[in-house]
């Protein structure tokens, strides 16, 4: 065994480039997995930390219409809580804490979230420390009695160089005083949080008669199964957050306060939660893809390595070497490669994660103001996972090859293929599996599995399809000179050797095409949705807008006569239940605009399992069955909604917040309406809102593009290895041609043409597969995961980009071997020819 292994080590040292490329492709695969996991874990930690700051131990929140509660309602709700009649369900309410939340501006203009709490009831995770001492009576006393005393995040204080007792200037208000620290937050949040006593919040925010909400702590909190927790730990981001069952107020309270709603904290975090989940899901999926591509390449390289040596294995067997030793030799080689690749990949992954951190942090800051990641926390799981994936994967792919080596024929057999066999039955089986997963309600994980099966089925077909295309091209090229036809023939011959690398390239390109189409479709649909939802140039909103409606209406009519306004739509939100779902109802009244219709949002329509229902019956809210217009798209996440003409509403008098969408020239409107707006109302130009939403969207998917590139890079390294191997195989032929008088450039041109041809054809194969992947992503994964559909949109450049990438990768991979062939001195050419003897 020692001698066999020694001989093998020497042989490997003679092919350093091949060995190095194999290790590199595996290392890149591991690196992407590790980096994605590290970044995903870091972003989840950051989000959890931000949630802990904002929500503390609360699990739900009780909100009034318009996002506020008057103090009388608060008192009654508190009484109901004491009597155990707050909720309709059996859930026990452990904690009940009033909160007043608002925003202030720091002296330098940055935002600050002010959270006013009742320290005796608070569910906030506040560490009452005083100058480093744990909970002290002095701190409690100061918090209650000293106006402006605030607790701020540790990280923020360190970043600002602030100490306990320091004053923090606030625009238009007296400064806040640092009384203590809050756990979490690394100082990188866009808007830091200051926790103050309720009285301070009322004074600093100028709100004395209302609360923002009541935080509730319900027991028992939903626990996750061990399996789910393990899966989340191993594949962060792949599992979407569990939807907590909706919690309803006691029927008596619901009847009395129809606008009051209980929301889970997770639900409130979902303002853009759909996008955030889509983002994490993408990250996790891309990370796994890169690893699969890396293992695919390892499989290809090991297969060649073993099959090329079958004759020697046979000779060893003939000499009496036991089969077990040969098996062990192959396994050992695979594990050595995998270990080296994994070790390199772990280091690269850490570096890559550092690079991705900025992009991910930007995305989270766009999605959630409070979340930012400044550094990667130490987490051994992604490293262990990368190591195990590499070693386990290597063992998995090497085991059958080790068996092949152990059973190598004692006498050499001619014509044994070097490439792993293409099993059309495998491709058909995978395709059927994908069809089954897509036909049955297997959830989004089933759809993702179907996507993986389709990609693998496509990968199996790359070699036969490329071979067929080469044959067709060969026939078409008959009239061309032999010098131009030769690359076609050689490409056909080299297909066996390059097929796995090409398949890996096809998988990477198809994924890139699929993701590009999906993201483009998503963007276009979201843009359409935003255009529809924000079609009015100006939106006026405010809780008390309804009271000033007559004044505003008069002004609007006057403006309409003056030609400044073409129409307007009044909107009022109502939180309600369309059993068994909590819903947000939007009541609409239009003037000078098309009449509103009764419509469900797509997620609600799908949740009710009747996306095409012609009518809706809603006892107590609608008079009989009312005709439904087709559903409208909604991508915001959070509570499902429906909209209807106000005249149709039969429920209790709505108390929700008002909005007024006004159509006309935005600039003129802002100028003319601003003076007559009631107090507390704000006017928003919708254009910038839409632009910001799209900017967040673009930022969200920028990371995906980076990871696509990395997966492509893994495939590119595989290609480099395959083409270097092809060039090695052709060395003698090209050397002979040099002797016959072929110019130096001839060899280079041949290798580049072959590589370009193979890679371009692989690129062609990737196009239909990418289209199929896009379809699964748009119509199955998104629909099942987020209950929304996307308009299928194929951007003009997607296919051209994939083809250019394939050609570029092929030419780049072949450039080194081509240059080596062209620059080889005649003495080397003769050496190669002599080596045959």
């Amino acid at each position: 065994m020692t001698y066999l292994w020694r001989a093998r080590r020497r042989a490997l040292r003679r092919e350093p480039l091949q060995s190095a490329l194999l290790i590199l492709s595996l290392a890149l695969g591991v690196a992407v997995v590790v980096a994605v996991d590290l970044v995903n874990a870091a972003s989840r930690t950051a989000m959890a930390s931000a949630s802990a700051q904002l929500e503390g131990f609360s699990t739900h929140r009780l909100e009034g219409p318009g996002g506020s509660l008057d103090l009388a309602t608060y008192a009654e709700l508190r009484r109901a809580w004491r009597q155990g009649t707050l909720l309709a369900s059996e859930d026990r309410v452990r904690g009940f804490a009033p909160v007043l939340e608002g925003r202030l501006r720091l002296g330098d203009g940055r935002g600050l979230v002010l959270l006013g709490i009742d320290p005796f009831a608070s569910l906030q995770n506040v560490a009452f420390s005083d100058a480093g001492q744990a909970t002290s009576a002095l701190a409690w006393e100061s918090f209650l009695l000293q106006p402006g005393a605030a607790f701020l995040p540790d990280g923020f204080l360190s970043a600002e160089g602030l100490a306990l007792g320091d004053a923090i200037p606030v625009q238009g208000r007296p400064p806040l005083t640092v009384l203590g620290t809050l756990p979490g937050d690394d100082g990188a949040s866009a808007q830091p949080l200051a926790v103050v006593d309720l009285a301070t919040a009322q004074e600093w925010l100028g709100v004395t008669d209302r609360l923002s909400r009541i935080d509730l702590a319900l027991t028992p909190p939903a626990t996750q199964s061990l399996g789910r927790r393990a899966l989340e730990r191993l594949f962060p981001g792949l599992l979407l957050p569990n939807k907590a069952p909706p919690v309803a107020l006691h029927p008596a309270l619901r009847a009395r306060y129809p606008g009051l709603m209980v929301r889970s904290q997770a639900e409130t975090r979902l303002a853009l939660g759909g996008l955030a989940s889509a983002f994490q899901l993408n990250l996790a999926a891309m990370g796994l893809l890169a690893m699969v591509v890396g293992l695919y390449l390892l499989y290809g390289a090991l297969t060649f390595s073993v099959r090329r040596r079958l004759e020697s294995f046979g000779r060893f067997r003939a000499l009496g070497v036991p089969q077990g030793q040969l098996r062990s030799l192959v396994l050992r080689e695979a594990l050595v490669f995998a270990s080296l690749g994994a070790l390199l990949g772990l280091g690269l992954g850490r570096v890559l994660a550092g690079g991705l951190l900025g992009l991910v942090s930007d995305t989270l800051a766009g999605l959630y103001d409070q979340v930012a990641i400044a550094a990667l926390p130490f987490d051994p799981v992604p490293y262990l996972k990368g190591l195990l994936l590499a070693l386990g994967g290597a063992f998995f792919v090497a085991w059958p090859l080790a068996g092949e080596a152990a059973r190598a024929p004692l006498l050499p057999r001619a014509g044994r293929p070097l490439a792993p066999p293409i099993r059309l039955s495998g491709a058909v089986g995978l395709g059927l599996g994908a069809a089954l997963l897509l036909s049955f309600p297997t959830g989004y994980l089933g759809a993702l599995a179907a996507l993986a099966a389709l990609l693998l089925a496509g990968a199996q077909l790359v070699a036969p399809v490329t071979g067929g295309l080469l044959r067709v091209l060969g026939r078409l090229a008959e009239p061309l000179p032999l010098g131009l036809r030769l690359p076609l023939r050689e490409a056909s011959r080299g297909l066996g050797r390059a097929q796995l690398a090409l398949a890996a390239l096809v998988v990477a390109l198809a994924t890139a095409v699929g993701m590009t189409i999906m993201v483009s479709s998503f963007r276009l649909t979201v843009a359409d949705w935003l255009t529809e939802r924000l079609d009015a140039p100006v939106l006026v909103r405010g809780a008390a807008l309804g009271a000033d409606r007559p004044v505003l209406e008069a002004a609007l009519h006057a403006a309409r006569e003056a030609g400044v306004v073409s129409g307007w739509v009044w909107r009022q939100g109502v939180e309600d239940w369309l059993e068994p779902h909590p819903v947000s109802v939007v009541l609409l009244e239009a003037e000078g605009r098309p009449a509103p219709q009764l419509r469900l949002s797509e997620p609600l329509a799908r949740r009710l399992a009747r996306p095409d229902a012609p009518t809706l019956s809603w006892p107590g809210r609608l008079d009989g069955a009312q005709a439904l217009a087709p559903f409208y798209r909604a991508y915001g996440g959070g509570r499902p909604e429906l909209e209807m003409p106000r005249a149709l509403w039969q429920g209790p008098a709505p108390e929700g917040p008002w909005g007024l969408a006004i159509y006309g020239d935005a600039e003129v409107l802002e100028r003319r309406l601003a003076p007559i707006l009631p107090d507390g109302a704000e006017m928003l130009a919708q254009g910038p809102v839409k632009a910001r939403a799209l900017a967040i969207f673009d930022r969200t998917f920028r990371v995906t593009a980076v990871l696509q590139t990395l997966a492509g890079l893994v495939a590119g390294v595989g290609l480099l290895s395959a083409f270097a191997g092809l060039a090695l195989d052709r060395q003698r032929q090209l050397s002979a041609l040099r002797v016959l008088g072929a110019p130096r450039r001839f060899a280079a041109r041949q290798l580049l043409l072959e590589a370009g041809l193979l890679a371009s054809l692989a690129g062609l194969c990737a196009l239909p597969l990418g289209l199929l992947a896009a379809w699964v992503l748009c119509d199955a994964v998104n629909l099942r995961a987020f209950l929304w559909t996307l308009d299928f949109h194929v951007p003009a450049g997607a296919f051209l980009q994939a083809l250019a990438l394939a050609l570029g990768a092929g030419l780049l991979a072949a450039l080194g071997p081509a240059l080596r062939a062209a620059l080889a001195p005649p003495a080397h050419v003769l050496e190669v020819l002599r080596a045959e003897g």
């Binding site: 030769l486 002979a736 002797v739 016959l740 008088g741 130096r744």
Partner: protein, 222 residues
């Protein structure tokens, strides 16, 4: 008639203490239609001399001058790599011990490819005629892997002659063939080279093959 003139040729291989002079002050003249066998022990420098004559190795001293029929003289040892390549593809033909046919081209295409490389018109017609001449007219559509060793070497021979070279340089042309096949190939080689009026320089260990040549140059004595 083509002519080869070699003057005072010296070739050393290796460097420093390992340097070895394979031959020194070698002079040689060969006319079109003549044949010369280079013989000697392994490592005596016969293949290296052949490569010097073909412009594949550059001697440390001396000149290798070729004068193809109706063409100016080219000092192959004094021109650049590009010019030597061009000279080889237009005026020389090579036959290797291991044939080195292109496996993805048929026998006919392998021969035609050389004619195309040499810039000749109607390469397929020339190749067909040449294959007929070496007795393989019926095997033109066969790929090398389906041909026997002797057939492959005859295709290689047709390839070496298809463009009407001034000389054919053959390195152990029968070294990989059994005795009977070797005899047959040697017969075709000499016959066809004479037919096209080219010079023939061959490296061989086989005394019988060497005896077929007009002259023999034994190397190995330094």
């Amino acid at each position: 008639m083509a002519r080869l003139q070699v003057d005072d040729l010296t070739l050393r291989v290796g460097a420093g203490a390992d340097a070895l002079t394979l031959f020194s002050g070698l002079n040689l003249t060969l006319e079109g239609g003549e044949s010369l066998a280079l013989t000697g022990r392994s490592g005596s420098g016969k293949s290296s001399l052949l490569h010097c004559l073909g412009g594949l190795l550059t001697p440390q001293a001396g000149r290798v001058c070729w004068t193809p029929a109706g063409q100016p003289t080219v000092a192959l040892s004094a021109v650049g790599e590009g010019a030597r390549s061009a000279f080889r593809r237009r005026h020389l033909g090579f036959v290797f011990q291991f044939f080195h046919l292109i496996p993805t081209l048929t026998a006919l295409e392998n021969v035609a490819f050389m004619a195309e490389l040499a810039g000749q018109d109607a390469p397929l017609e020339r190749a067909r005629a040449m294959l007929d001449a070496v007795g393989l007219g019926a095997r033109g559509s066969a790929f090398p892997e389906t041909l026997s060793g002797g057939e492959q070497q005859r295709v290689a021979l047709a390839r070496a002659l298809v463009h009407g070279p001034a000389a054919v340089l053959a390195d152990e042309p029968t070294g990989n063939l059994d005795g009977r096949t070797a005899d047959a190939v040697a017969a075709v080689l000499f016959e066809q080279v004479r037919r096209v009026g080219a010079a023939l320089i061959l490296v061989t260990h086989d005394p019988a093959l060497a005896a077929r040549a007009d002259g023999t140059l034994a190397l190995g004595a330094g």
